[in-house]
């Protein structure tokens, strides 16, 4: 008898519990969406990197900077990348590095960033700008003496003697965009810019002298192979060369009408990159130029090329390397959490 009562009680209890449970589930349980945290990739589809720097002798450490304040770094020649935190969301137009720890980046709206610890910490520093567009920095370079140079629009040329902490204007206001600055082995400072303008300074920027230019097309970049030989490239396939230290410049046939945005000397030849996937190479004396393509089917635009110890890094619409004539675009592989630390310490 007792057993039956017990069973009865158990049954009622169970029924009530189950009913209550079902009611609860039916009216109060709201399932939540469990979305996995998306690991941000160092290189995202929309990224464009305008500048690339590879300090050191082996070309293993690489920085690239570009869209929306993004700076990425690789320790192994581009195999793995990780994104670094920056305090800005404007475009960064260029990056240059003294060594694997110390670097400077410059870009839109007067942005200048420096790091002393390999990019773990990027700090914004004040740099003089000019009103009405004089805060658009375009290029940053480091010369053999360790000075840093920034060029921009409205005739802006900045120089820093203290690894980017402080900057001063060295060029008077002028409605011209300076697209590149370089210091030749003899210490002469060279500027190229809009309307084919070329300027030089023999006194570290205190005074500037315009040099005759055979073109009206904007010049985008200039590079010196040695004190005597240099190449400047620009829009509409413009290639200028000099063999007398920059006193006289000659126009060369590039074999393409594409805009050329940068040129580098890799020890054996000049390499210029630009619009439409154009890759233009020139021999040592700058007389023969061959127009080609970065890769078949690559019609992207490329703003910079850097050649270090056999590594040729090219950046722009995509970021990659040219090894033995073969283009390889870098893709992002999200690095494991500790990878960053490990590779830095290692």
């Amino acid at each position: 008898m007792a057993r039956r009562h017990f069973a009865h009680a158990l049954e009622i209890t169970l029924s009530v519990l189950i009913l209550a449970g079902l009611f609860y589930v039916a009216f109060f349980v709201k399932p939540a969406v469990d979305v996995p945290e998306v690991r941000r990739s160092a290189i995202e589809p929309r990224d464009n990197f305008y500048g690339v720097a590879a300090p050191g002798d082996d070309g293993a450490v690489v920085w690239a900077a570009g869209r929306s304040g993004k700076i990425i770094r690789s320790e192994d020649g581009g195999e793995h990348w990780h994104a670094q935190n920056t305090p800005v969301f404007h475009h960064i137009q260029d990056i240059a590095a003294w060594d694997a720890d110390t670097a400077v980046a410059a870009g839109d709206q007067g942005t200048v960033l420096i790091t002393q610890d390999g990019g773990d910490d990027w700090q914004a520093v004040d740099a003089p700008t000019r009103p009405r567009g004089g805060d658009q920095f375009l290029r940053v370079r480091i010369d053999a003496q360790g000075r840093a140079w920034i060029t921009g629009t409205m005739g802006v040329v900045l120089v820093s003697d203290d690894r980017g902490r402080s900057w001063r204007l060295t060029h008077p206001k002028q409605d011209i965009g300076w697209n590149d600055v370089t210091v030749a082995p003899d210490g002469t400072v060279w500027l190229v810019g809009e309307f084919g303008t070329i300027k030089r300074s023999g006194d570290d920027g205190a005074s500037w002298e315009e040099v005759d230019s055979p073109t009206d097309s904007s010049l985008m970049a200039v590079t010196f192979r040695d004190a005597g030989h240099a190449v400047a490239v620009g829009l509409s396939g413009t290639v200028l060369t000099t063999s007398d230290g920059g006193t006289h410049w000659q126009t060369r046939k590039a074999g393409t009408g594409a805009h050329l945005f940068d040129v580098a000397w890799d020890g054996a030849r000049y390499i210029a990159v630009g619009n439409g996937g154009a890759l233009v190479t020139g021999n040592a004396d700058g007389e023969r130029w061959t127009a080609g393509s970065i890769a078949a089917g690559n019609f992207g635009w490329y703003t910079e090329v850097t050649a270090v110890a056999g590594h040729t890094y090219i950046t722009g619409q995509t970021l990659g390397t040219l090894a033995d004539g073969q283009w390889r675009a870098f893709h992002s592989r999200p690095a494991p959490e500790n990878d960053e630390e490990a590779s830095r310490n290692g």
Binding site: E11, I12, L14, S15, I18, L19, L22, F23, V25, A26, F27, V29, K30, P31, V33, V35, P36, V38, R40, S41, E44, P45, R46, D47, N48, Y50, R67, S68, F89, H91, Q93, D108, Q109, L138, E194, S218, M220, L235, H259, F261, N275, G276, G297, F299, W301, T303, G316, Q317
Partner: protein, 813 residues
């Protein structure tokens, strides 16, 4: 009361049948006018915020009914006059297709794709290839360069390898009739196809059109299945009535319901054919039970057909009604998911099941009352009966021994645990790329893969960007935020690309700066962006930028292309939009989810997702309540719950194993199938109860139940399993094939539960609602023979099942 109705119906059987015939004939007329078509809005949970966003903006930002047509060359690139002419021709032909939104056709050959360039006359903004094709080779070359230089075209409308181009077209939701539009689209595509030129299309209208195109095939398979059912019933039952009554009953109830929904103006979705099939399987199941019950009465000596019919009706009324009530309840729970398609399916299902109360449970016994004693002979006898008896004897022995019964329960619990574990993997939304309705190797899914491999994706979603005042979208901080948002979204898996007003501004800004990509960015002030937009849009229609912003630049859209519409992809993307909006707010701007196909699917999935657990809980509540009421015992409610849960977990684990996601098409099938688990169990349990009331022996009542109701279970299960697999072998629609398999699985699970698990449970637990209620109902005369029937015993040739009871003689008095 049941008794009285039964007697009344059988007494006035001629009137009853005449009414049935008239009603069926009238409904039949209406049923022929049934509207079989897919209505897109049926898919949309109207109250969901995403749907409201879609409704508000779809005319300009692009809705869910869009088609992507890809033109692809074998060799070389598309920049050849004949290929360009084809693109132009397809674009023009599309304007003639019904229900096309004329303002939402985009291709190289429309005005919308423009080239902004610097020239000696200043900055020009000219359509790339509109109104005319390039005149010569020079022009083609210029076009090619312009395309490559234009990021809103290159990679978006022309593939990066230049071998393919796409034409996208939007349809107006309220005008579209898939049955008409699809053949027209196909004609457009066929006209463009030729050697070396591949033309393929994807999109919701194409998919819906394909399903409609398969309707004749579907009906052919239905015909084959009906034939197969007839054949199997004939073999197993042996008699003409055994074959015809179940079919007639399901057909009659089907006609009533189809006639009713046609009268109510409800359309039948072509994919719902599977559901109608699943429901008519119920009619067959009940009809077979009634037939078997009738046979049983006659074998036990009730020779008067009218009397036997009355008794059958009386005895099977409760389990039959209970089965139908729980089915209808489970079906109606689906209607709580606020998607019109599901609501309609639920209403159709519930009505149909309701119709079976008259059209099956009452009509079959009435029809059986005409069977003349002694005049019946078997048309076919392949000894199926004997084999069944032997099998059922085996089931009896298995379930009426303590050890084996425990083993059965152990296995059942194990299956419950294992399937319960895997059931958690069920996906809401589509589980695989491409359309789950079609096979992965179908032409459509191949085209889908080909297009999504070369282009950012054919599945579109827009997120509305709502500003608080005019020109908000020109603000640099807003545009920069939008650009960051796009980058954030593009990092998500499955998002092929995004486009916004910023993508219109950036290239123009670059061109204004001598084509220098360092200026590939938005302008630094509202004014500069306004000027850039003015240049970009000079000489164009106001509608040309409508995909990205309204004319006041107050509200705009970020357009996203998805490579697939898998549930996971959509959920992740939607969550990402919410996360971004929370983490990066901009003053005066609000991101609003979400339009386009993906937006609609996101809403559908969210509704299904939040509703699925509730639906199951509610269905279980319905079952508990009905069982408890029918047997006047909460114990009965508890008793049947595990079976439904088992059926549920097995279904879900099968679906997750097969990669079938829970979506608007599969949900009603799954919901209805869940009720399938208990149908048979009611008949078995009721027979055991009936047997025990007379014999007082658990073993004997279980044997009695298995040999009567169990026989019906086997016949129904065998019939349905053997016929529904025809879907699998003959349907070109993957959805139907998979649902066929699913139905077969349910039939097997519920048959096994009813034949083995339920008797074992009853034997071991001895529930009071079965064994403790002897004599609580008035037992009609002539049904005291609670052992096996003589013929079965003879066929089986087994001594232990031919045991006679004293009641047998009494039955003949």
């Amino acid at each position: 009361m049941v008794e009285r109705i039964a007697r009344a119906c059988i007494r006035h059987r001629v009137v009853f049948m005449a009414v049935m015939v008239v009603v069926t004939a009238v409904m039949g007329v209406f049923a022929t006018r049934l509207d079989v078509r897919t209505i897109f809005t049926d898919l949309q949970p109207a109250g969901h915020p995403y749907i409201q966003t879609n409704e508000r903006y779809k005319e300009t930002f692009g809705g869910a009914n869009s088609v992507t047509i890809m033109v692809r060359v074998d060799k070389g690139d598309i920049f050849r006059l004949p290929v360009l002419r084809t693109i132009q021709q397809v674009t023009r032909d599309l304007q003639q297709v019904d229900a096309v939104n004329q303002f939402q056709i985009v291709s190289l050959a429309t005005k919308k794709l423009k080239n902004v360039r610097a020239s000696t006359y200043g900055i020009e903004s000219l359509p790339l290839m509109w109104p005319d094709l390039p005149q010569d080779q020079e022009g083609v070359k210029a076009l090619r360069e312009a395309v490559i230089a234009n990021p809103t075209v290159y990679g978006q409308y022309v593939s990066r390898d230049l071998k393919a181009a796409i034409i996208t077209v939007d349809f107006i939701d309220r005008l579209i009739d898939y049955g008409k539009v699809y053949p027209q689209l196909e004609e457009v595509v066929n006209r463009a196809r030729r050697d070396g030129l591949e033309v393929r299309m994807v999109g919701q209208p194409v998919l819906a059109g394909l399903v409609i195109e398969h309707l004749p095939e579907t009906l052919r398979i239905v015909g084959m299945i009906v034939l197969a059912i007839a054949l199997i019933l004939l073999i197993t039952k042996g008699t003409l009535r055994g074959m015809l009554l179940p079919l007639v009953s399901s057909a009659v109830t089907g006609v009533w319901v189809l006639g009713t929904i046609s009268l109510l103006g409800i359309n039948l979705d072509p994919l719902a054919v599977v559901i109608t099939f699943l429901i008519s399987a119920r009619a067959i199941s009940h009809a077979v039970q009634l037939n078997a019950g009738f046979d049983n009465e006659r074998r036990n000596g009730v020779l008067d057909a009218r009397r036997a019919a009355e008794i059958t009706l009386h005895k099977l009324f409760r389990p039959g009604l209970l089965g139908l009530a729980t089915d209808a309840g489970a079906m109606l729970v689906v209607a709580l998911t606020p998607i019109p398609l599901l609501e309609k399916a639920a209403v159709i299902g519930a009505m149909w099941i309701g119709a079976m109360v008259i059209g099956t449970i009452i009509m079959i016994p009435v029809a059986l009352s005409w069977v003349r004693a002694g005049h019946e002979r078997r048309l076919v006898d392949v000894g199926a009966d004997g084999a069944m008896t032997a099998f059922l004897g085996g089931c009896t022995r298995l379930t009426t021994r303590r050890g084996s019964a425990l083993a059965v329960l152990g296995v059942a619990l194990l299956v419950l645990a294992v399937s319960g574990w895997y059931a958690r993997d069920i996906k809401v939304g589509d589980a695989n790329p491409g359309s789950p309705i079609l096979w992965p190797d179908s032409e459509y899914n191949q085209a889908d893969a080909a297009i999504n491999e070369r282009f950012p994706g054919s599945n579109r979603m827009f997120v509305a960007v709502e500003g608080d005042k005019e020109d908000t979208l020109k603000r640099p901080d807003v545009l920069r935020n939008i650009t960051r948002f796009q980058a954030y979204m593009e990092a998500q898996d499955g998002v092929g690309g995004t486009q916004s007003l910023a993508d219109v501004i950036r290239p123009v800004n670059m061109i204004l700066h001598e084509g220098n990509p360092r200026y590939f960015k938005i302008g630094d002030s509202k004014m500069v962006n306004g000027e850039i937009l003015f240049i970009a849009l000079s000489g164009s229609d106001p509608g040309d930028i409508a995909r990205f912003a309204d004319t006041k630049y107050q509200n705009g859209a970020v357009q996203m292309a998805f490579r697939n519409h898998q549930g996971d992809t959509i959920r992740t993307a939607v969550q990402a939009v919410k996360d971004f909006a929370d983490e990066h707010p901009v003053e005066g701007v609000h991101y609003r989810l979400a339009g386009g196909l993906i937006g609609v699917l996101a809403a559908v999935n969210e509704v299904i997702f939040s509703g699925q657990i509730q639906s199951i809980a509610l269905a279980l509540l319905v079952l508990f309540t009905f069982c408890a009421l029918a047997y006047r015992s909460p114990q009965a409610g508890l008793f049947f719950l595990p079976l439904v849960v088992l059926s549920n977990t097995i279904t879900f684990s099968f679906m997750s194993w097969q990669g079938i996601g829970l979506n608007v098409n599969t949900l009603p099938v799954a919901a209805l199938g869940i009720g399938l688990g208990v149908d048979y169990a009611f008949y078995i349990a009721d027979r055991i109860r009936e047997g025990f009331a007379h014999t007082g022996s658990a073993e004997r009542s279980i044997r009695f139940a298995l040999l009567t109701a169990g026989r019906g279970v086997i016949i129904t299960a065998a019939t349905m399993i053997a016929s529904v697999v025809l879907w699998y072998f003959f349907s070109s629609l993957r959805f139907q094939a998979e649902m066929g398999l699913l139905i077969a699985l349910w039939m097997s699970v519920s048959a096994i539960s009813a034949l083995v698990v339920i008797p074992s449970m009853i034997y071991l637990i001895r529930p009071r609602f079965i064994f403790g209620v002897a004599g609580d109902t008035a037992v009609p005369e002539g049904e005291e023979a609670y052992t096996e029937d003589a013929s079965a015993g003879r066929d089986a040739g087994e001594a232990d099942v031919t045991e006679q009871t004293p009641a047998r003689a009494a039955a003949r008095r």
